[in-house]
């Protein structure tokens, strides 16, 4: 590997995975530079100069240093994406790009707040030596069910969230959803919803996903077979 683009972070992070997926989708050269998360390397210099909020990932591309996974993803797709299969933003269409933005916001403000708490309790906490709080899990499973009902309605009339094309809106869902499906007993939340499950199946066949999923699997020691 080795190339112009450097990504700082660990592949086990769903946020880092989002960025790696974008780089893989557009076929860009990149290098993943891991941080020692246990030693909180992300909270000290020199990393803080890259991301003053001390979170992963950050990306360096020549003179540009940026952070926040969704901002990084958009940059990678704009800079290195093309037309057709590598056009995951649909900038040439006002309507399509708006739909991509809508469902990216939905992921950020509806989907992730629910699923991240389930993944934190069931995967992250045990991984770092803690134990889950089942009451918290139950609360957020309830919230995620309501969100998934909206997704089921949407995906029953559209193969992908923004329309009939795969986009960044679908891609940003991958990391946490993979952790849920491969690392908890709550895969049933997707399996019980036919359109959501079909959408998930389409995502899982993508070459970029097949490359990045094992990194999450290994990084978090997920319970199901890879």
């Amino acid at each position: 590997m080795g190339g112009a683009v450097k990504v700082y972070g660990v592949a086990a992070s769903p946020f880092v995975a989002t960025v790696l997926l974008c780089l893989e989708e557009v076929g860009a050269d990149y290098e993943l530079l891991p941080l020692d998360m246990a030693a909180r390397e992300q909270r000290t210099e020199p990393y803080l100069s890259r991301n003053p909020f001390g979170k992963i990932p950050a990306l360096e591309d020549r003179e540009l240093t940026i952070f926040e996974s969704r901002a990084i993803s958009r940059y990678v797709l704009r800079k290195y994406g093309g037309t057709g299969a590598t056009d995951l933003l649909r900038a040439s269409s006002l309507e399509e790009s708006a739909m991509v933005d809508v469902w990216m916001e939905v992921e950020a403000h509806q989907y992730q707040p629910a699923i991240a708490n389930i993944v934190r309790q069931c995967v992250i906490l045990p991984f770092i030596g803690g134990a889950r709080d089942q009451a918290v899990v139950d609360e957020y499973v309830g919230k995620l069910e309501k969100v998934l009902d909206v997704y089921e309605a949407r995906l029953s009339s559209s193969p992908y969230l923004a329309g009939d094309f795969f986009s960044l809106a679908d891609l940003v869902h991958f990391g946490f959803t993979y952790c849920l499906v491969a690392g908890t007993e709550y895969a049933t939340l997707l399996e019980s919803r036919a359109s959501v499950m079909a959408w998930w199946g389409r995502i899982m066949t993508r070459p970029a996903v097949r490359k990045v999923a094992p990194l999450i699997h290994l990084g978090l020691k997920l319970s199901s077979p890879a």
Partner: protein, 218 residues
Amino acid sequence: MAPVKVFGSAAFTNVARVLVCLEEVGADYEVVDIDFLAKEHKKPEHLAGNPFGEIPAFQDGDLVLFESRAIAKYVLRKHRTDEVDMLRESNPEEAATVDVWAEVEAHQYSKAVAPIVYECIVYPTAYGIPTNQKVVDESVEKLKKVLEVYEGRLSKQEYLAGSFISVADLNHFPFTLRFMETAYASVFDSFPSVKAWWEKLMLRPSMKKVSADMQRKV
């Protein structure tokens, strides 16, 4: 061109976010009130526009959108000119910097400011629920840490993304306006560059207009 429709009044911070963008680009728009107390936002007609039953929804001809930050981008993109370009999408490096600080607004800044606004203003006045001081105190501490980062940045450049105003700056408007109505407004006094940035934003005609709209009773 028919005016676009924004569903929800300016009293809602997320509606105000969209209105500021419409004002900045000089677009024609119509605000359609949603009766929050009558739970109109949970009824089928509104759900057709926002399936999560939240405010706002937005309509431009056949296109129906929701999520205020997505609507904001659509408006700014549609009306982009060489003079008024709040997204900079034709320049990947500039657009990236705009996107970074728009994400910071959504995930760092608003996460600190919104609970203060909800606990100090929204819950007591709209729901009769007393302020949870512990939540407020924790949020104020979070906000100070965020403002330290902002101070570092805004002491070196005029706007969050650089020398030009962008959607990253605009998106801060509604929650910050409400925050300034609370007893904690003086927190900004310790961050002079941030305070100067805010005061400069508030001079913009778009902010003055929407501020006035936000003060009117629902």
